[in-house]
């Protein structure tokens, strides 16, 4: 009996494919084995946080693309409509692939398993690139099918436009995929192995910041770029407009030069993934860059934390959480870009709003609204992110360390976790703004605003703390937990919007501000205590599970997923 061959195997069995693979140094047999392995691992969620997130991100991308397709009803020109969609597709894919590729191409754990096996670098890279192309195959249609069909209502659009649109989107996506790999190749060439992860992280942070910066700083650049033939999405627009009455309207020779130069740069980058690729990635495990020496100036803070939490375990929790917030790779990748982005927004709000006092002397009107009314709520949203991500880590096996916490000392431990967030986010931020507030609005108003804002931000943090479900940095990221976090974030945004309105109303009277501030502070204390109780209970359960050993934990995880 013969087993039917899959389309993939048929393609790989072509003489031409085999010849090409041989020329590129790809061992077809090992390539197949690796593809099968990656498929099994994806199915079994080895790539936690990638496979799961990709599906939910794809559904988010679909919703946004449907919303964008509504633009078609405003009857823009086909060219502008296509440019908008290509720009959106390319940016979105850049964001997704940068993250996915970092997980795929810089997976030091995987390299440690495979580095001593006889696998040539090109074979491994080819398997990884195929994985990225599969991601592309998922995202491009999800983001473009509805808008492409919606474009048929635009003037001068011919019936086959959806096909050329999808072709253009696929080419653009392919370009982005190669660009991302090219960028990683450049990093591989020029960045020492131990610094690769950090370099990639900062690149991801920069890309994540683009939407937040675009209005204020990038708008003029983007407007100029949209008209330039030198930029990639204009080239693919020309493909999308093939056979349409609208034309791309730019000289092809410029695009040709741009394509050649970009391809050259990408090829140079891709050649960075040479035969020693697996070796380079596994070298990332060999050690990390030496940590900067710091002078210990925290004795006073430690004394304070010890006093506030009531036990050394509180101090331990404070130090541990603080360090992990800075160093945990999962947290840095998932939460840090968002936190930084919101801090930039916060700075923007302060710069714009500091000259307009939030204290309103006249009646209710839009003019009496100061950007500083958003400040406490924005800080509250910043509190949501670390709380939502606090339980997760890339190294959940380290969680055994918590089994040494005495059960009767859990409350100080939980307080220590809370303080590790409250001190830097709420206290430190307000210490930074107190002097400008006093300077511009006078001591009374300045101090009162800071009091109110700190109380509100503390309440937000206390509410967000309810989201923390287990020991900090102790669990692998899972779909179910990610969904809880997402729901918590949406709720948090709604509450934040509500509080902006309430604050605007309250700031018409100083007495009201004092009263509201006091109530908020009291609420913050009560909610925080409830959060401590809840977390303490959950940690108790988790510690019992941890003491039962990894086998039991694994079964628990399986049941949940």
């Amino acid at each position: 009996m013969t087993v039917p061959r899959s389309p993939r195997d048929r393609i790989l069995d072509f003489k031409l494919t085999r010849g090409m693979c041989a020329r590129l140094g790809i061992d077809v047999r090992q390539y197949r084995l690796l593809l099968d392995l990656f498929a099994i691992l994806s199915g079994r969620l080895e790539f936690l946080g990638t496979t799961i997130a990709l599906k939910s991100i794809a559904s988010g991308g679909f919703v946004i693309s449907v919303l964008i397709s509504l633009v078609a009803f405003a009857k823009p020109s086909l060219q502008n409509y296509l440019l908008l969609l290509l720009a959106w597709t390319m940016f979105f894919l850049l964001w997704i692939l940068l993250e996915d590729a970092s997980h795929s191409l810089l997976n030091a754990d995987e390299a440690s398993v495979l580095a001593h096996q006889p696998i040539a670098g090109p074979t491994y890279i080819a398997a990884k690139l195929t994985h990225l192309l599969l991601v592309l195959a998922l995202f491009v249609p999800v983001m473009n099918v509805v808008p492409a069909i919606a474009a048929l209502i635009l003037d001068g659009t011919r019936w086959f436009y959806p096909l050329t649109h999808l072709l253009a989107a696929y080419l653009a996506g392919l370009f982005v995929a190669f660009l991302v790999c090219g960028i990683y190749g450049w990093l591989f060439r020029f960045v020492p192995a131990a610094r690769l992860k950090s370099a990639v992280l900062w690149m991801q942070v920069l890309v994540a910041l683009v939407p937040y910066l675009s209005n204020a700083m990038l708008a003029p650049v983007v407007a100029k770029a949209a008209a330039s033939p030198w930029l990639p999405f204009r080239w693919f627009a020309a493909v999308g407009l093939l056979g349409q009455t609208a034309s791309s309207g730019f000289p092809l020779w410029q695009a040709g030069i741009a394509v050649l130069v970009t391809c050259g740069l990408i090829a140079f980058g891709l050649r960075g993934f040479t035969a020693d690729y697996l070796v380079r990635v596994s070298t990332m495990l060999q050690g990390s860059a030496p940590a900067a020496r710091r002078i210990s100036r925290t004795t006073g803070v430690k004394m304070l934390i010890r006093k506030l939490t009531g036990a050394p375990s509180g101090c331990g929790a404070f130090a541990f959480t603080g360090i992990m917030l800075r160093r945990d790779w999962h947290f840095r990748r998932r939460a840090l870009p968002m936190i930084l982005a919101y801090f930039i927004v916060l700075v923007g709000i302060t710069v714009q709003g500091i000259k307009i006092s939030p204290f309103v002397s006249g009646g209710l009107s839009v003019r009496s609204f100061s950007p500083m009314h958003i400040f406490p709520a924005c800080l509250g949203i910043i509190c949501l992110m670390p709380c939502g991500m606090l339980a997760f880590t890339a190294e959940p096996r380290g969680a055994w360390i918590f089994t040494i916490i005495p059960f009767e000392r859990l409350r100080p431990f939980v307080r220590g976790i809370f303080l590790s967030l409250w001190l830097p986010i709420v206290v430190l931020t307000h210490l930074c703004v107190v002097i400008p507030c006093i300077w511009f609005w006078g001591a009374g108003h300045g101090l009162l605003f800071v009091f109110f804002s700190a109380a509100l931000a503390s309440l937000f943090l206390a509410l967000a703390f309810l989201l923390v479900e287990s020991l900090p940095f102790s669990s692998a990221f899972s779909a179910a937990k990610a969904e809880n976090v997402r729901m918590g974030m949406i709720l948090g945004f709604l509450i934040a919007a509500l509080f902006v309105g309430i604050q605007w109303l309250v700031f018409h009277s100083v007495l009201l501000v004092i009263a509201a501030g006091a109530i908020l502070l009291l609420m913050a204390v009560l909610v925080a205590r409830a959060g401590f109780r809840k977390l303490e209970k959950e940690i108790r359960t988790e510690l019992k599970l941890l003491q039962l050993g990894p086998q039991h934990l694994f079964k628990e995880t399986e049941r949940m997923t």
């Binding site: 099994i40 580095a115 990894p550 086998q551």
Partner: protein, 257 residues
């Protein structure tokens, strides 16, 4: 004919730290050599270079005549390596993991199934063969790693603390297995802190200290050189390991602070 393993003036630098300062040694075919040294001496780094997992900064390293890192894929084909820290795909079962490794190493399917079945039985993990590796204890993982290293009947075995986490019975079995492999003419480089195993299994010892090779010879020649009766005494003298009493009393004092 070339040596099974040849290392000449091998230097390895990481950031600003030089882990190996130009060590030189070789292993002939069929030799079983112990690699000793204190923590951080450079033993694992040497092994990783020989497995093609780390690129040497300078000097020559070759395995079975294949120069590293240029011919690392060829060298990896003849090496069986048990790493110090077990890297495994945790969501695969033991059977799947070994099948994957065997197929990478181009073992025929029929022979592969038989080999896996026998090795898992020998290492007493046959019952757990269909369980995911995430549920395995440290010792069981180690057994899977040893089985993975032996699957393709390698000519050269590089073992980095292979007995870590193993129970007494399994340790004894592995020691006997190594002796049998040596008799079969396999070349074995065995890195360990457990001196009695090295003393029992190996016919030659290399000692690395602070990135330098400070001793290379048979056990008897090293005992003669240092006037020590046991390998432990030889090791203490060569690595200038001081008397432990002052350190012990300092640790006790620190505990009581």
């Amino acid at each position: 004919m070339s040596h099974a393993i040849e290392v000449r003036d091998l230097v390895f630098r990481y950031h600003l730290t030089e882990a190996l300062h130009g060590i030189t040694f070789h292993l002939d075919r069929g030799e079983v050599v112990g690699l000793l040294g204190p923590n951080g001496a450079g033993k694992s780094t040497t092994l990783k270079i020989l497995t093609g997992t780390l690129p040497p900064t300078a000097g020559l390293a070759s395995v079975h005549g294949f120069r590293l890192p240029d011919q690392s894929v060829e060298a990896k084909r003849v090496i069986g390596y048990v790493p110090e820290a077990a890297g495994l795909y945790e969501s695969l079962t033991a059977q799947e993991f070994l099948e994957f490794i065997g197929r990478l190493r181009e073992i025929e399917e029929k022979a592969l199934k038989q080999k896996i079945s026998t090795l898992l039985e020998v290492f007493d993990v046959a019952k757990q063969r269909l369980q995911r590796l995430a549920t395995f204890s440290k010792g069981m993982r180690q057994k899977v790693l040893i089985a993975a290293a032996l699957l393709h009947d390698p000519a050269i075995l590089l073992l980095d603390e292979p007995l870590t986490g193993l129970d007494v019975g399994s340790s004894l079995m592995i020691k006997d297995l190594l002796s049998a492999l040596a008799r079969e003419g396999k070349t074995i480089l065995y890195s360990s802190h457990v001196l009695d195993v090295v003393e029992r299994v190996c016919n030659r010892v290399l000692i690395i200290h602070q990135g330098n090779l400070i001793a290379d010879g048979t056990l008897d020649s090293l005992k003669d050189r240092t006037k020590g009766d046991t390998l432990e005494e030889v090791f203490r003298q060569l690595t200038h390991t001081t008397a432990t009493e002052p350190l012990v009393s300092r640790a006790l004092e620190a505990m009581k602070l």
